[in-house]
Symmetry: C2
């Protein structure tokens, strides 16, 4: 995997452009040329070209040879597709965790610490911080499955979901408590080694998100 440090020009260009797309500053259908990013970042076309290629494989940009790049618009069913696939991966991860004897002590502590943070953010109505903790919560469960492929896919879905949030408005602060309660129940199901129960709660949980979008 590419180094995370922004020291490398290609990595900077990738993060910069992806952020433009995810935050909606480049909206769907819009054309964008490598030259523009070059100018804004003060690097040559090579690293920007590499960044574009990567965004192309992630289906955020659509490149056409010698014609240019167009920001892929959010598909009408994007929310459904993303949430459905996330649910599939996370449910499967939970089943694996349960099949392996339940979450390790370390995982459990992490989840509990995360829940406390969520509680704090929900109380402060800090939606931004809550959403971040939310992501971390679900990612922790997937990571606990020990399936690196699932972790990888989950990360890609996280990007797309972030874009959806920016595009389709956010979450109402009043919903935070409900979401937090769902998360508590998920941890309970995991501790009870109830994989199907986990899948059921998750399904309702995801449906709530879908309703919000």
């Amino acid at each position: 995997m590419a180094d995370k440090a922004a020291a490398l020009a290609a990595e900077r260009a990738y993060l910069y452009t992806k952020d433009l797309i995810l935050r909606g500053e480049l909206s769907g259908g819009q054309l964008i040329s490598e030259g523009r990013i070059c100018g804004e970042l003060g690097v040559s076309r090579t690293p920007v070209h590499e960044a574009f290629l990567r965004l192309d494989t992630e289906r955020l940009l659509a490149l056409s040879s010698r014609k240019g790049a167009v920001v892929l618009p959010v598909a009408p069913q994007e929310a459904r597709d993303v949430l459905e696939t996330r649910e599939a991966i996370e449910s499967t991860a939970a089943r694996r965790v349960v099949a392996d004897g339940g979450p390790a002590q370390e995982v459990l502590s992490r989840l509990r610490a995360n829940l406390e943070r969520q509680e704090e953010y929900a109380g402060a109505a800090d939606v931004e911080a809550f959403v971040e903790a939310d992501e971390e919560f679900h990612s922790s469960v997937v990571a606990a499955s020990g399936n690196p492929i699932a972790v990888h896919f989950f990360g890609l879905l996280r990007d797309r979901q972030q874009r959806l949030r920016h595009q389709l408005l956010g979450i109402r602060p009043g919903h935070l408590a409900v979401v937090l309660d769902d998360h508590r129940r998920l941890v309970d199901r995991l501790r009870a080694l109830d994989a199907e129960g986990y899948a059921g709660v998750l399904s309702v949980h995801v449906a709530r998100h879908q309703g919000a979008l």
Copy 2:
């Protein structure tokens, strides 16, 4: 997405190198430099570099800045991870197809035609052709869900499974009939709008594969 034609040097380099890895000619842990591929393909380093970046994002190659590229070895649990994730995605796709009123007539014809091909190949004990039809069968179901993200992920998993097959030996011709029978049952479940039945058959089906690896 990049153009499929091998006209572009970068695409050629990507397909060429990926094939080396998938077919096991470059085994895990082995170092490989861009220069080598350049020589073998007669192109400059630029397109090869781009190919390497892409293989890095697909977790087939691990790049280290200014050190080189190493072919990622097949993880011990790779087979389990791949099959498990495939099952998750395909089951979810089947649920979607059923929720949308069952497979379209077009999809059904395609599946049936595919089954006939499988029958032919199984009779001829043509494992290679059968495996290809097998892949196409499952891909068709996922595609029928209309979830492009799932389709994308499924494609990535297909590459990894191909690598596993090459590495861990193939399928015994005698098993072809059993696999074909599973496929028939899957189509039946789809026609009966029985998503959970589909998931159940698929689970057994995948477990068979896992046993073979």
